[in-house]
């Protein structure tokens, strides 16, 4: 059993295998559906542009408008602020990277400093306009801060790969896996997979901390006896894609099954670390999933013991139920 993380775009077991299967780049390798433009980020980008253009083109007019000095050094300051705004606008509209939102927050603080200094040394002419501009910037700072904080909690990509060898032909292993509705028999986190029309399936899985996530998936590649690839469609909470490949093992040793799963996990690295702390190590789970698949293929069902009687539902590795027969109540729970 081997599972490991691989860098994004990795997941090829070996170059030799890749060349043996030239069409091995599944559609799932691309960005999954579910990335849509963020209205707030783009709105702030346009706001930067709307502010930056007059600052750069007509700094004198702009300064008069907000009631601050019109001396050349004042105009030069405003023009530089305009350049800053246009840079932020380009960044926000171009990449939506939250670093540009943080740049806006920093710019806001700089502006508040300039305006505060201006208010303190004001000649009282147009003081109300300067005060109003200061209040407006303070309000925008709040919006920028909100956007920067919320947009920084990005989903991070998690790649999982694992492999197992089963003692059947690639066709038989493929046929077993292709019955997507039976995946929950051995995949611990999957509660249900059912057809959802138009060639898609609806998936329901339990997530860390007792939550559950659902999504629709479509098959992106399906080569009998060789490969199945799928990806989530629409705007799921956890966009994901996956691929399973079936290779004849050398010397008649059956079939090697190589699985790659990619998730875009909410909460970023922190979320992953917290989940791991609570014993939900995804690598271990994928390994265990594949062991159960092997048990089903080779022996007909998932093997149970007194210590681990719940089949795939056993979440906790140790301590377990003692290695002694189950009570009537426990038996009913196991059989339900």
């Amino acid at each position: 059993m081997a599972s490991r993380s691989s860098p994004p775009g990795g997941g090829q077991a070996s170059p030799a295998r890749s060349t043996a299967l030239p069409a091995s780049q599944p559609a799932g390798r691309q960005q999954p559906a579910g990335r849509i433009p963020d209205p707030l980020t783009r709105g702030l980008g346009w706001a930067s542009a709307a502010l930056g253009v007059p600052q750069l083109v007509a700094p004198r007019w702009f300064n008069r408008f907000i009631g601050v000095g019109e001396a050349p050094r004042h105009q030069a300051t405003t023009a530089l602020v305009g350049v800053r705004e246009l840079t932020a606008a380009a960044g926000l509209l171009g990449s939506e990277n939250p670093v540009w939102l943080w740049a806006r927050v920093a710019g806001d603080l700089m502006d508040l400093g300039l305006l505060g200094w201006s208010l303190a040394s004001h000649d009282r002419q147009g003081w109300e306009r300067t005060a109003a501009a200061t209040a407006a910037v303070a309000g925008i700072t709040g919006v920028d801060l909100y956007a920067a904080v919320t947009r920084s909690q990005r989903k991070s990509e998690m790649d999982l790969t694992a492999a197992v060898t089963v003692g059947t032909s690639p066709e038989e292993a493929y046929n077993q896996w292709r019955q997507l509705e039976s995946l929950p028999q051995f995949m611990a986190h999957l509660d249900e997979v059912r057809p959802a029309g138009n060639g898609t399936t609806h998936w329901r899985a339990s997530a860390p901390f007792g939550r559950s996530v659902e999504w629709d998936a479509e098959i992106t590649e399906d080569v009998a006896g060789e490969r199945i690839a799928w990806r989530s469609v629409g705007h799921p909470d956890v966009p994901n894609d996956g691929e399973v490949r079936f290779w004849p093992a050398p010397g008649g040793r059956g079939t090697e099954i190589h699985v790659t799963l990619r998730y875009w996990v909410p909460g970023g690295k922190l979320g992953k670390a917290v989940a791991r702390y609570f014993g939900e190590d995804p690598h271990q789970q994928l390994d265990d999933d594949l062991r159960r698949f092997k048990q089903i293929v080779e022996t007909g069902e998932v093997v149970r013991s007194d210590g681990a009687p719940w089949g795939k539902r056993a979440r906790q590795e140790f301590p377990q139920h003692p290695a002694r027969p189950l009570s009537e109540d426990e038996l009913q729970e196991v059989r339900s």
């Binding site: 003692g167 390994d287 013991s305 210590g307 140790f318 139920h321 003692p322 290695a323 002694r324 189950l326």
Partner: protein
């Protein structure tokens, strides 16, 4: 039902527990007629095998009558009413390991494979009553047991041999035999066996059966050495002599051709300072196993010889003589016994009178006295060699 349970380090107790039930379609329920305490149960008792839990049912040597079978059991192989001996490793019969008859490393029967993998690198098979590392299966020191893959594992006994004659087919007789089998014994071979407990005795009997010329028994308990001597084996008491020198003396300076370690992780040593050194390291978890027998076997074996390890090791050892092993071209062969591979031929040896497993039994008592049996066996009181329990 009554079952003997592990209740913490150095404590077992006979308790009332629920009767076992079918959990998988190919399970059977066996009403146990005879069961035994194994030397490896002492490693569990002493707390040297990790992942034991309070309340675990002990025991992996048992036999009895099939009283229920799951609806997936092949009725051509086993039926209700059959009298069966149950091998201690649980095998699926279908994976690559089982097809190679390496049943104790079956790939499918350990539901805690992920846990086992962390300890051993790769998981091993499920074993009855032998920690959660080997699956968390309830054991056979009980009135009933659930036996998975009932159409693969149990050996049907169709002759009228007594329980005592066939019970040890479940573990210690095949284990001892595999120890000798791995030695590739040829005529003229001198075979030295560390440990004259039940497994060691059966390894010696098997070595003789496989054609060894001279068999040497190494132990410190006079009654165990006496038991070996009565069979014609040469006793060496490691508390009285230096083992390596004595073995050279007995083999014309060559060293034994084949060496069998039937001791494992809780060995003792004739030299108190050496014993204290490893005992202290083990107590502080600086090493998990005390490998005196293994060290001596490697140092004593003749150049190019075979060291066969059937004594149980659990973790990591210190001062492993890798230099002697490598430079002198020794072959190290090991494994938990692939019992299913050996059961039928050994039953034949028993039926033909070539092996008499009953010779190691010194105590027979009711299951309810299991804690007393453990005490006698562990502390070698009352010349205890092997305890059979009757549920």
């Amino acid at each position: 039902m009554k079952a003997n349970c592990w209740m913490g380090r150095n404590t077992v107790a006979v308790q009332d527990v629920p009767d076992p039930a079918i959990l998988n379609r190919r399970d059977a329920i066996v009403k146990i007629t005879s069961t035994a305490i194994c030397g490896s149960d002492l490693h569990l008792l002493d707390g040297y095998v990790p992942t034991m839990q309070k309340g675990d049912v002990m025991g992996h040597e048992f036999m009895g009558e099939v009283i229920e079978v799951g609806d997936g059991v092949d009725s051509g192989k086993v039926r209700v009413g059959d009298r069966v001996v149950v091998p201690f490793p649980i095998a699926c019969g279908a994976c690559a390991a089982c097809r190679m008859e390496l049943y104790s490393v079956c790939e499918n029967t350990n539901p805690n494979a992920g846990l086992a993998e962390k300890f051993f690198g790769h998981p091993t098979a499920g074993i009855f009553g032998y920690s959660h590392l080997t699956g968390g299966f309830a054991g056979g020191q009980a009135q009933y047991a659930r036996v998975p893959f009932a159409d693969v594992n149990p050996l049907k006994i169709e002759s009228d041999l007594a329980d005592e004659q066939v019970l040890f087919l479940s573990d210690i007789l095949p284990t001892g035999f595999m120890g000798a089998d791995m030695c590739d014994i040829s005529s003229g071979d001198v075979v030295a066996v560390w440990g004259a407990g039940p497994v060691g005795q059966f390894a010696m009997d098997s070595a003789r059966l496989l054609g060894a010329d001279t068999i040497i028994a190494i132990d410190k308990e006079p009654y165990r050495l006496q038991m070996a001597a009565e069979q014609g084996y040469i006793p060496v008491n490691f508390e009285d002599v230096d083992v390596r020198s004595q073995l050279l003396e007995l083999t014309g300076g060559r060293g034994p051709d084949k060496c069998i370690d039937a001791v494992g992780m809780e060995a003792t040593h004739g030299s108190l300072p050496v014993y204290a050194y490893d005992r202290a390291k083990q107590a502080t978890r600086a090493e998990s196993d005390r490998p005196y027998a293994l060290r001596q076997a490697i140092m004593s074996c003749r150049n190019g010889g075979v060291v066969s390890v059937i004594g149980v090791y659990g973790g990591f050892v210190d001062k492993f003589p890798a230099g002697a092993w490598m430079n002198r071209g020794l072959t190290l062969r090991t494994g938990q016994c692939h019992v299913q591979h050996y059961m039928k031929p050994l039953l034949d040896h028993i039926e033909k009178g070539r092996l008499d497993p009953t010779r190691v039994i010194t105590h027979t008592m009711p299951l309810t006295q299991a804690p007393r049996g453990y005490d006698l066996f562990k502390h070698k009181k009352d010349n205890c060699e092997k305890v059979v329990l009757k549920p």
